[in-house]
């Protein structure tokens, strides 16, 4: 399971992964140290860096007039 798939699973079924077994689930992914540490720290920026996502995101899609 990839990191993104892991996040999708977590987002869709948070009750199936309590705080107690979150670390165990992350370990079970078999990721390298950097990816594992980023997930364990719940560090969204680090996760994005490791996945190669954009460094700048703009999100405004409305104007005042």
């Amino acid at each position: 399971m990839s990191i993104v798939q892991f996040l999708e699973t977590l987002g869709g079924a948070p009750n199936q992964m309590s705080a107690a077994n979150y670390a165990h689930a992350v370990e079970a992914l078999g990721l390298d140290d950097a990816a594992r540490d980023a997930l364990l720290a719940r560090d969204a920026n680090a996760v994005n860096r490791l996945l190669g996502g954009r460094t700048v995101m703009r999100c405004m899609i409305a104007t005042p007039d």
């Binding site: 996040l7 999708e8 977590l10 987002g11 969204a44 996760v47 996945l51 996502g53 999100c59 409305a62």
Partner: protein, 273 residues
Amino acid sequence: MSTTAEKPGSLVCVGLGMMLGAHIGPRARSQIEQADVVFVAVSDPVVELWLQQMHPDVRSLQPHYAEGKPRHQTYRDMVESMLVEVRAGRTVVGAFYGHPGVFAKAPHDAIAQARREGFAAHMEPGVSAEDCLYADLGIDPGRLGCQHYEASQLMFYRRRIDPSAYLILWQVGIAGDRTYRRFATGPEYRRLLVERLREDYPADHPVTVYEAATLPITQPRMDTIALRDLPDTPLHMHSTLVVPPCEPLQRDEAMLARIEALERAEAAATEQA
């Protein structure tokens, strides 16, 4: 939904919700999976990567933003990139974070333009930042009422704020920007916003800076500060300001008296019948 278009090519703008994997609905997912091409505008880069795993042809709308480029032009370019594919006869999906029709100009414009050109086009709603805000902050907009304004619009135009209802200001991080070419405004602009709000609220009124969580490993931002401290509080493009009521509901005695008169008349009519 338009179902009478004769031309091939169609456009659906769908909402992905705010949090990766948490909010996407079956209709939005189905539209994405069955599309020929998917355009995406989201606030979190990992969410963009998630969408790329759902479909082989996902095209980000991010490159349309640029420093110094007017956002009106950015949104026109977003619309045009989607319409080019619709005109080519393709089944096009525009996937937007949150709800594609809430504080979102490009999706509305794209659907309207597609329909003007005779193509089928519709919107699939999503879980918006507003929805997350109500859940995270425990606000029921029906209890005391809730006004929503784009922050700059509140500054540019005379609006009537009801201080007995909630006030929610969107895009507060660029409050006061008339150039439409920036992605942030500074403390001086926010001081003017605070000045405007001080017409209706005390300086120490608690307000909350809210940012919905976009990944299941993160938490929403819910920072409550005094209104006077807003100018020096760090804000982002996706920050929303929640201003709770500072006054109790005011009874409209005149209207209540008229309603009572109606009730009496109805009761009298019932007795006579």
